[in-house]
């Protein structure tokens, strides 16, 4: 495992309650809330932190540039290194991995990493629909981009039409077990999911993620810090990042090469041969419901064109006896875009620490965290375990 460098441990996790509007706090106040909770969980103070790595959604999404400048004092970072990471929707994941690399490379002993977004202050769909001169303006938001790719998956896999609704219903049920989740819809029925209006056919409103305000933070430490922690930590077993262009001949948009390569690398680093049986719980970036079966296949949890069967037979549910996916409720239940990837990584860590509360998968030893962004172009993944690799 020499390729991992220094062993890295997740010492603490902090999240805010995700909701449509946090009208009571500034962005500085929001990120601080998550950071303080992560510090408390890690039994650390600001003075224990050597560096801060933050990520947020693309600048137009909230009209905020250079967060690394104006949030340094709110993150106790004056006089310390602060870095900002920028990889579209996958940013929360890649931010965590850049922070991890500072430990793995033995640059720092403890790093605070954080992702955030206040969607209530802006309009991401507007930001994703900016017209360009000389071009035809016909795209409305992320759903307009991903809908044709989902249609293609449906055509090639032969999946039943309601698989996406099953994912959406499952994740909203999971969200009821997570006090931090944005959408808590205890009375939601499957029929209501199915009957919801189409936004970007074949994507229904009920199959899309909400717009959320929120922040998620983690304190990462080196082997010495992990060994010294009073409570359970999550050990990093593997990390990988990949990217690719969004339009080239032969591109498989449904299962991009970069996604498959990234998965192959992260599982190889973690010594995992069969992710389907060796991973106990997965947090996968699913902003539109159909991406659950699509990513299950691309990541190697299912054979090609077979991922939907795991949805259909219930094995991605927390009580399904298979591979529980997005026990937190996932992106479909909370989507502060700049934080969403880090939430996946942090939830994976909580699972192997045995600290996921009501959405804990009993005895989880190895968990997978995943984020993607752009036109399914940027990928960030990690495997964390209860034991040191």
């Amino acid at each position: 495992m020499g390729s991992l460098g220094e062993h890295t441990a997740v010492l603490g996790v902090g999240q805010t309650k995700y909701q449509s509007t946090r009208g009571d706090v500034s962005i500085a106040g929001l990120v601080r809330e998550a950071a303080l909770r992560a510090l408390e969980d890690a039994s650390c103070t600001w003075a224990d932190i050597d560096a801060v790595v933050i990520g947020k959604a693309p600048d137009f999404f909230e009209g905020l540039m250079m967060p690394e400048l104006f949030l340094a004092d709110a993150l106790g970072c004056v006089g310390k290194p602060i870095l900002r990471v920028h990889t579209a929707g996958s940013v929360g994941g890649s931010t965590a991995l850049v922070a991890t690399s500072l430990i793995q490379g033995r640059i720092h002993q403890r790093v605070l990493t954080l992702g955030f977004e206040k969607q209530s202050e802006s309009n991401a769909t507007w930001a994703l629909s900016l017209p360009q001169p000389f071009s035809v303006s016909i795209n409305a938001g992320a759903g307009g981009y991903f809908s044709p790719i989902i249609r293609r998956y449906m055509a090639r896999s032969g999946a039943p039409d309601l698989i996406g609704c099953m994912v959406a219903y499952k994740d909203r049920r999971h969200a009821l077990l997570n006090p931090y989740a944005h959408l808590h819809q205890p009375d939601l029925t499957f029929d209501q999911v199915v009957d919801a209006p189409m936004l970007w056919d074949p994507i229904r409103f009920s199959e899309t993620c909400p717009s959320s305000d929120g922040a998620c933070a983690m304190v990462l430490g080196d082997e010495t810090a992990g060994d010294a922690a009073g409570g359970p930590v999550a050990w990093v077993h593997g990390t990988a990042m990949r990217s690719e262009a969004n339009n080239f001949p032969g591109r498989d948009e449904v299962s991009p090469q970069a996604s498959r390569d990234c998965a192959a690398e992260v599982f190889a680093k973690a010594g995992i041969v069969d992710p389907r049986t060796e991973i106990d719980v997965a947090e996968i970036y699913v902003p539109f419901s159909w991406y659950e079966p699509m990513w299950l296949e691309s990541l190697g949890f299912a054979e090609r064109d077979e991922g939907w069967r795991m949805v259909e037979d219930g094995s991605t549910g927390i009580d399904g006896g298979g591979l529980p996916v997005n026990c937190s409720g996932g992106v479909l239940s909370s989507n502060p875009i700049g934080a969403s990837g880090m939430i996946r990584f942090a939830e994976a860590a909580l699972q192997v620490r045995g600290m996921a509360g009501e959405h804990q998968v009993d005895g989880a030893q190895k968990a997978f965290g995943h984020a993607y962004g752009g036109g399914a172009q940027y990928f960030a993944m990690w495997v964390v375990g209860a034991n040191k690799p």
């Binding site: 909230e62 106790g76 017209p131 071009s135 035809v136 795209n139 809908s147 249609r151 001949p249 296949e297």
Partner: protein, 336 residues
């Protein structure tokens, strides 16, 4: 957005991106904004008595929260300054003015604001200044018009009733406007000019002959420059599509739902997005053959907007498994 089509030289267009973002203030910055609305300037005080103005949420030295709000004077001293002539578009000030760090009496940190004097000769480090206020105040930094030499303003303002408790400022508008000089790439220049002649151009890769439309001047797989232009027919097939029920920002002319599709021209190896019309939405399918419907000849310009939409041509469909990006049924996942 305006466009220019010069007889020679490059195509260009103005591109303006603007949005009225909001910022939630939180209680501390909110107290500062609420104070401005009441013609008061407030700071936040640290335990040792140090007062930050504008009110800061966090002590930058320790990371500790600051929550004690205190009034400071509306008069103070210019610590340092510059002269702005002329003000930039969007500036709160129309006329040349000083821009100074003003430390108000009772504050330990200076705040940045305008100094409204007639000439640079009236500016000096160490000069005493007083605040002047806008009549209509909303809880924004521009409620404070700026500072003038002490004794030349209206004197200490008649403070209005404090409204902080009843109706504190919770958010502010922060419109952002970015103006770009949009210049298409060299490959796109040629592509767009061809549109004016009702021609569609692509680039051919020197690596394997793959044809890209629109041309980008580079093969995205290898980074190799692509210079060979090829002309493409105005017909192809739908590789994939979306039926959108949401209005597009800036396209109020387009009734919903509408179909946007990846159009794969005959002879091209990648698709591009186009609008599909001329049939019912539920008739659109993967593999459907389509042809371009152009604007009238006299309305043609150097723009992809020349093609109004794509309509069914009535030719037999391309088989689904060969439509669009053919990797989707090919070797795509065999090694996963």
């Amino acid at each position: 957005m305006s466009k220019e089509l010069p007889a020679q030289g490059r195509l260009r267009a103005d591109l303006v991106i603007e949005y009225p973002f909001t910022r939630t203030t939180g209680p501390v910055v909110g107290a500062f904004m609420t104070g401005l609305r009441d013609r008061r300037i407030v700071g936040s005080r640290r335990a040792d008595g140090w007062v930050f103005v504008p009110a800061a949420e966090v002590d930058p030295d320790t990371g500790n929260p600051l929550s004690e709000i205190v009034d400071v004077a509306s008069v103070g001293v210019v610590e340092t300054w510059t002269w702005v002539d002329p003000p930039r578009p969007g500036s709160p000030w129309d006329d040349p003015h000083g821009l100074a760090l003003v430390r108000l009496d009772g504050a330990n940190t200076p705040m940045l604001h305008g100094v409204l004097v007639d000439s640079v000769a009236d500016m000096a480090t160490g000069m005493r200044v007083e605040a002047v206020w806008r009549e209509e105040r909303v809880g924004h930094i521009t409620d404070l018009l700026g500072f003038v030499p002490e004794g030349t303003g209206t004197g200490q303002p008649d403070r209005t009733e404090k409204s902080a408790v009843a109706d504190p400022v919770r958010s502010i508008r922060t419109p952002i406007r970015l103006e770009y000089d949009f210049i298409p790439s060299a490959a796109a220049q040629e592509y767009l000019r061809a549109y004016a002649e009702k021609r569609i151009l692509g680039n051919r890769s020197p690596v394997d002959g793959a044809v890209f439309v629109p041309p980008r001047g580079v093969d995205p797989r290898s980074g190799v420059e692509t210079t060979e232009m090829v002309e493409l027919p105005h017909a192809g097939h739908i590789g994939n599509f979306c039926v959108t029920h949401l209005p597009i920002p800036g396209r109020s002319d387009l009734p919903t739902p509408y179909v946007s599709a990846w159009i794969h021209l005959d002879g091209a190896d990648i698709g591009f997005l186009g609008l599909v019309s001329g049939c019912e939405n539920d008739e659109v399918r993967i593999g459907m053959r389509v042809q371009a419907v152009w604007k009238a000849d006299e309305e043609l310009g150097a723009t992809a907007e020349n093609i109004l939409y794509w309509e069914p041509s009535g030719e037999p469909d391309v088989p689904v498994e060969q439509a669009g990006n053919r990797a989707w049924l090919g070797e795509g996942m065999s090694d996963a």
